[in-house]
């Protein structure tokens, strides 16, 4: 083995029932490099990683790790850990009902002389770790108290804190905003300087060009190639992933900004709030309007939307839907008024893991129709097939369990669930999280199409770029409060300025 190389995988092959997830894939990681692993949803990125860390058993191929003689086969994440491979998986897999400190040290707790867990040391070291990442949080609180983004940072902190030669980050930035991403990149660069090899999976192409040295592209479980970053500009990268030329940055929104009258008013919120998450706010949404909610992490973007939908109970103010005052006690009430909410936390609030793709797609529609009006199987199948086709959901069959789909494809199924209910007003909280470039553009187009059909939408994304492409109006949030709206001259600059706290109709 080249002494600059820390990890080689050769001819890795792995099949799931009905899918050849990996077909003779090679991968080489060198010391002190950040190596992007790219590919569309379901290309096999996570599977390749899981083969390396022992979660999936591969059928053929060999793995070599620097410093270890002979081929390596790991049997568990812990096993991989011992060989210096530290991993942050795509779905945060920490324990929600343990404290942050416990999560950081689970499996490697500091011990006292008596051999019991040294809680004091654990808390102290946890606080230090969090501080190093500029995160001032109470490490004795349960993990579930914190947002998905913070949880993701904690998962990263845990992986980084362990001495490793190889660090794997599978879509670590999917729910982080620019600020956190910057922190993460700084951290990655520090590790790189120490000689750690980093595997970085993401669907954000800018991030690849910001930190990576090399790119390996997979497509349909096969290796497309390995390239130094300089040899693979953006267009070429997209083409390599998709197998065809595609301009993911082409303008899709029509230039003229539409005007709305009061007759088109769909949602009229006055003084809604939920204690502890969002202060009283007003918001109007018209038919055909796409309203973006923007702000830093924890600014209350998701929380605002959740109050309208009744996922969190509204405690003050009034909500009018299509002109009549609405009482919403639970999500089902909102659904009966024609609303839908695609939540940001896919694993906790989106997928029903052990149900099939079909059942997951029809679930909300069935709930809306009521328990006694079971959708005939024929209709269920038609619906499922329609959306699998329309959103290009990659699945072995419509009866496959949703938990067996790749992350991006799970996201598409949840989107399908809401489209199937044909809502008048749809809240999309990070709808393109974990979705590949091609499909991302498709979803953005879909949003515009829905608006054109006269539906109202709320669009929440950590990517301002993406909201600019779709939104007609943006509401800016800061510290759990709506601080303004931007209706004219929506540009990266005005939005960034408003988020940071200057101007914008305050």
């Amino acid at each position: 083995m080249d002494n600059n190389v820390v990890l080689t995988m050769r001819g890795i092959t792995m099949t799931f029932p009905g899918v050849k997830a990996l077909d003779g894939v090679d991968f080489t990681l060198r010391k002190g490099e950040i190596h992007a692993l790219m590919g569309e949803n379901g290309a096999g990125k996570s599977t390749l990683i899981k083969c390396l860390t022992g979660i999936n058993a591969f059928e053929a191929g060999e793995i070599h790790v620097d410093g270890i003689n002979g081929p390596v086969v790991n049997h568990s994440t812990l096993d991989a850990q011992k060989k210096g491979i530290s991993t942050v998986y795509q779905e945060v897999n920490l324990c929600p009902n343990l404290s942050v400190a416990e999560n950081l040290f689970i499996g490697r707790e500091p011990k006292t002389k008596l051999g019991t867990i040294d809680w004091k040391a654990m808390v102290k070291r946890s606080e230090q770790i969090m501080k190093d990442l500029d995160m001032n949080i109470d490490v004795t609180q349960n993990l579930e108290e914190y947002s998905l983004a913070l949880q993701q940072m904690i998962a990263i902190a845990r992986a980084v804190d362990m001495d490793c030669k190889v660090l794997i980050l599978d879509e670590p930035t999917s729910s982080l905003d620019d600020h956190e991403v910057e922190k993460l990149f700084k951290l990655m660069n520090q590790l790189k300087d120490k000689g750690v090899g980093i595997i970085f999976v993401t669907h954000f192409l800018e991030q690849v060009y910001a930190v990576c040295d090399r790119i390996t592209v997979l497509r349909n479980g096969q290796l497309v190639g390995e390239y130094p970053i300089a040899d693979l500009p953006r267009v070429k990268l997209v083409a390599a992933m998709m197998g065809k030329d595609f301009d993911d940055l082409a303008a899709i929104k029509s230039e003229e900004s539409p005007t709305f009258t009061d007759a088109d008013l769909l949602i009229d919120a006055k003084g809604l709030s939920h204690k502890g998450t969002i202060k009283p706010f007003d918001l109007q949404i018209h038919k055909g309007e796409v309203v973006g909610l923007t702000g830093l992490l924890g600014s209350g973007r998701s929380e605002l939307a959740r109050v309208i939908y009744g996922a969190d109970k509204n405690q003050t103010g009034t909500l009018k839907v299509k002109g009549t005052e609405a009482k919403i006690g639970a999500p089902i009430d909102a659904m009966n008024l024609g609303m839908g909410l695609l939540p940001d936390d896919r694993k906790a609030e989106g997928i029903i893991g052990d149900l099939s793709v079909r059942e997951n797609i029809i679930l909300a529609l069935q709930a809306k129709r009521g328990i006694f009006k079971l959708l005939p199987m024929k209709e269920q199948i038609e619906l499922a097939d329609k959306y699998i086709e329309m959103l290009q959901i990659k699945t072995a069959s419509r009866e496959t369990l949703i938990k067996q789909l790749s992350g991006g494809n799970q996201q598409k199924v949840i989107l399908a669930r809401w489209l199937a209910t044909d809502p008048d007003f749809l809240i999309l909280d990070e709808p393109t999280r974990g979705i590949d470039v091609g499909t991302k553009t498709e979803i953005q187009k879909l949003v515009l199409k829905l608006a054109k059909e006269g539906k109202g939408l709320i669009f929440i994304s950590s990517e301002i770029e993406e909201m600019l492409r779709t939104c007609t109006k943006m509401a800016v949030l800061r510290d759990g409060q709506k601080v303004g709206e931007i209706t004219e001259s929506l540009t990266q600059e005005t939005v960034m300025k408003a988020i940071a706290g200057g101007g914008a109709n305050e």
Partner: protein
């Protein structure tokens, strides 16, 4: 090889496999003791009613089967078990007999009120118990085991209070029919069959099954998707109470009395075991009602067989415990993973040899 895997991978494999095993033991026993080999399966008519070991199992297993229905739903929706069903059975029996005999009466040959009123009264009280459990679990988020522990210990005593500390005997023919014979068929078999069919039809014709499983798998996501997660969990506990009520009345009728201390004793264990044996995960989520029902009768078959083999009722639980250990081990993830790895290795070795 792949065919074997297909069969062992089937959802109903475990309960059917156990059932077949029990039958095999019975045949071996009959052969060894010089009886007709298929004694177990022989059904005859004696004294104008059906007779045979198989009929006996179907008859005696009725209560467990009825309990297993509710337990399956509870396990699926709340990832927990209702350990109060045995005690609630006893309470329902006591209340029913008390109503039929009149308060404070210890033995009667005519009914103090119409049969139907007494029976419904007992069942209704059991439903209230189910609602109480359901309220604690669904709305107050109490752990199912803890929530149902309350009635597990209290229900029997309440029943005794209702009966003024007596064992109330109701020696009346129409009441005896419930646990006796309907024509030549044992009535409990009919009752259990009706219960199973009704629930099966509801599951088939409504979205209830989907709702229960969805809530059991991911309560939060189900709520966002428009399900009233708490109400569904509540409903499952009420159904479980209903089943306990019916089973309690049947059990009381069998012995024409409300023996608070013995009716439904340890039945919660059999009910939970039926669910597990039916291939259902006790961790909630997906369920398989047919499996639980087969599981219930399998357990009864095991019990009956043990008695036939001359095992005393005191030691029988030991054998059941051994069976539980085996089942739980087979279902445990590490064991499954081990088996999978083994078969993968074998396949690889085969492939390697061929290459």
């Amino acid at each position: 090889m792949s065919n074997v895997k297909k069969i062992t991978g089937m959802r109903l494999f475990l309960p059917i496999f156990c059932m077949v095993l029990v039958m095999a033991v019975n045949i071996l026993y009959d052969v060894a003791s010089g009886n007709f080999a298929l004694n177990f399966f022989t059904i005859s008519i004696r004294n104008g009613v059906l007779y045979g070991r198989l009929i006996d199992i179907l008859n005696r297993g009725s209560e467990i089967a009825i309990l297993a229905i509710g337990m399956t739903l509870v396990v699926s929706a709340s990832a927990g078990t209702d350990i109060s069903v045995g005690s609630v059975m006893s309470l329902a029996a006591s209340f029913c007999c008390m109503l039929l005999a009149g308060y404070g009466v210890s033995s009667t040959t005519d009914l103090a009120m119409p049969l139907i009123a007494g029976v419904l009264g007992g069942i209704l009280l059991a439903c209230v118990c189910g609602a109480f459990n359901g309220f604690l679990v669904a709305y107050l988020n109490v752990q199912p085991m803890v929530a149902t522990l309350i009635l597990y210990s209290a229900a029997r005593a309440i029943g005794l209070l209702l009966c003024n500390n007596l064992i109330v005997y109701v020696r009346e023919d129409s009441f005896k029919t419930i646990g006796g014979y309907l024509g030549f068929i044992p009535t409990p078999i009919v009752i259990a069959a009706v219960c199973v069919v009704i629930v099966a039809v509801i599951l088939k014709k409504t979205a209830l099954g989907l709702y229960i499983q969805s809530v059991g798998i991911n309560k939060r996501a189900s709520r966002i998707a428009g399900l009233n997660s708490s109400r569904i969990i509540f409903l499952c506990y009420v159904v479980c109470g209903l089943g306990a009520g019916i089973a309690g009345v049947v059990a009381a009728s069998r012995i024409s009395s409300a023996d608070s201390n013995n009716i439904g004793l340890n039945y919660e264990l059999d009910a939970i075991l039926s669910v597990a044996l039916g291939g259902n995960s006790l961790g909630g989520g997906k369920f398989n009602l047919a499996g639980s029902i087969i599981g219930a009768y399998t357990i009864q078959a095991i019990t009956t067989t043990l008695y036939a083999l001359g095992v005393s009722s005191d030691v029988a639980p030991v054998y059941k415990a051994i069976i539980v250990i085996i089942i739980v081990t087979i279902q445990a993830p590490p064991f499954k993973a081990y088996m999978k790895k083994r078969s993968a290795k074998k396949a690889l070795a085969k492939g390697g040899a061929a290459a």
